[in-house]
Symmetry: C2
Subunit: 384 residues, 2 copies
């Protein structure tokens, strides 16, 4: 019988692949990152009239035309090397967006998928998996009695957490509108950034807690009892107090399920856009909880139509918060962010009162590239 | 200043969405699952000559033509309702495979992405997230001194694990060629199946350990220090003894990091295809370790060219294994699987020796639909 097995083995193993993969892929390399960091993109479309490329490495997210070559293989090579960074792109084929079928690496932002690639070096290395000690990433569920929901939450624990008896500081990292408890892990590369900064000795080992800031959601799209629905921006905006009011449920869950240093000196909170708004209001609402606060392109846009105790007497609460001398109040924003002016105004308010803060101004606007940069700037100064 | 904030809030929030999502999506619903479980697929392609649909709900994975309607919107509705199941599909646009840009839910198999959807009811409910108690899923890294690598591993812990002091049985669940430590979670819906079976009282709470069975890999594509490379089937086949030889590293890691019932009566091992081959050989190599063994479409194909002690004296080792009376030796395969005959031969060997086993024969062949089914059949009989 053994002979029967052997006789058929090689042929069958090859066949197994075909059957298992269901549909074969194309034998095309795209994107191809050359030694000098120029990049070639390829798209097979023999019947297309026009194939274009759009990506966040192009000025103002313009599109460029690919050139049709042999057998309908369209191609474009960047004229200049790209700087180290994580980039997003998609093709536009006869006017319709298409992902690159030769690149399995995608990020989702709301209902939009785009391909990604990384140019190594500099921050590109921080966003990559390297041969360093790795933390663990857990998706689990916690009870929020305040919201009346059991909710999904994403938690990074640093290398060595499971085997030590040490207690760790905790960094609460909040997403923006359209995001969820997956956003900082996928678009934000939080695991890679933390692993790498800790390995380089630039960040203290810490627990990072990524919540879902949409008060009506159990979990990210596809991860809740709503099934595999098409996400949209139509969620009720959680800028009406419920995120801030329910946040103690999260802190309580973390402090009772992890070995935390459960005090102000060892808690940080930061968020992007809507999450920056949340970080602002949560930190002032609970002025004894967070010694480190980060506002990343914060949507400092309270809505007068909202009646929540959370947004009452902002000035009075800020006064209390700053009287308690948080060790770091960090504001980062890009020069072309549409939220630039509200952040200027907010900084003026802090300046007028003499409240100290650290300010980081980047190029460009309201984009994940900036939020990854802010994360790499913010994390190294925590808990020191 | 508050007025400035308020005046601009609504307009800016809308703008934020556009900027954050980088590229907008289409306003098309696809797939649309109707009340009677027929399904409509839609694809916008005004310039296409032919748009087809391929999917595992079509006979023998044929393709069907979509019909072009108004403004280049192509459409196809299944003539009959689909049975409850998780289905995969893709479009073929003028001969080229394209994912559905209106469906963000994708599974990767090697280098191939396909869209998925679920028809609820029956097994479709088992594969869905429901309002039940949820376990936790952790991606972490362990040392394999035998392979000389630090490697990624995926671990499911059942609801209540973190808050109990109870010890749990452990189920080691292995993937096939082309798979990795992500395969059973994504293609296999393991988390949903375990959560749901445990909630229904049909499965005992257990830890499920999903390893990477490719001995040369640190981790799944994109999750290792190799970067965002294009995966292929060109990995050296791990059917040369290294997986089996290094498996004690995994068991040791699990038993020293989790509250396990570290004995034969509380350990199960199963795998699909190459993983079934691994489960067969690991369970006979360590006959005191596993009381439950599952071979799912097992690649019972030892290669005569391979010299490893693992594959020596198979009959003698099976004799020892069965003398120790494992509580369950489970074999599942599909009627059209290309590995059907080797499994017939293997069962004949067991029959001839009088070794007891449970046999489950399904329709169809070497496909994930079957492996999910086998999982739902196997898990309820474990540790009882």
């Amino acid at each position: 019988m053994k002979n029967l097995f052997i006789a058929t083995a090689l042929f069958l193993c090859e066949f197994a692949f075909a059957q298992q993969a269901l549909w074969g892929g194309q034998q095309i390399v795209s994107p191809e990152i050359h030694e000098n960091n120029t990049v070639t993109f390829r798209f097979l479309a023999p019947k297309a009239v026009k194939v274009q490329l759009t990506g966040d490495f192009l000025p103002a997210r313009a599109s460029v035309d690919l050139k049709e070559g042999k057998d309908g293989l369209w191609e474009y090579t960047t004229p200049e090397p790209l700087a180290p960074e994580l980039y997003s792109y998609a093709f536009i084929v006869d006017g319709l967006k298409s992902i690159d079928p030769n690149n399995i690496y995608l990020n989702r932002d709301v209902a939009s998928l785009t391909n990604i690639f990384i140019i190594r070096g500099g921050r590109g290395d921080l966003y990559s998996v390297n041969k360093v000690a790795h933390g663990s990433l857990t998706r689990r569920w916690y009870d929020s009695p305040t919201l009346g929901l059991t909710r999904r939450i994403t938690i990074y624990t640093p290398p060595g957490y499971e085997k030590s008896s040490q207690k760790y500081p905790v960094f609460y990292l909040l997403h923006g509108m359209g995001g969820d408890e997956e956003a900082w892990v996928t678009l934000g590369r939080t695991v890679q950034i933390l692993d790498n900064l800790i390995a380089e000795g630039k960040a203290k080992p810490m627990i990072v807690v990524m919540t879902n800031g949409n008060a009506v959601q159990e979990a990210a799209p596809g991860e809740s009892s709503l099934g595999l629905y098409k996400p949209s921006m139509q969620l009720p905006k959680t800028m009406e107090g419920s995120m801030e009011t329910s946040f103690p449920d999260v802190v309580k869950f973390i402090d009772s399920n992890y070995r935390t240093l459960a005090n102000k000196a060892n808690r940080a909170i930061a968020g992007l856009s809507m999450g920056g708004f949340h970080a602002l209001h949560i930190s002032k609402q609970y002025p004894d909880w967070f010694d480190y606060v980060g506002l990343f392109s914060a949507a400092i846009l309270p809505d007068e139509g909202v009646s929540s105790g959370i947004y009452d007497d902002i000035d009075g609460k800020l006064k209390i918060q700053f009287a308690k001398k948080p060790r770091l109040y960090w504001i980062g924003i890009g020069k072309t962010d549409f939220l630039y002016q509200p952040n200027v105004d907010f900084r003026k308010k802090l300046d007028d009162k003499g409240y100290p803060y650290t300010y980081y101004e980047s190029e460009e606007g309201h984009i994940w590239k900036n939020w990854r940069i802010y994360l790499t700037e913010f994390v190294p100064v925590l808990f020191k």
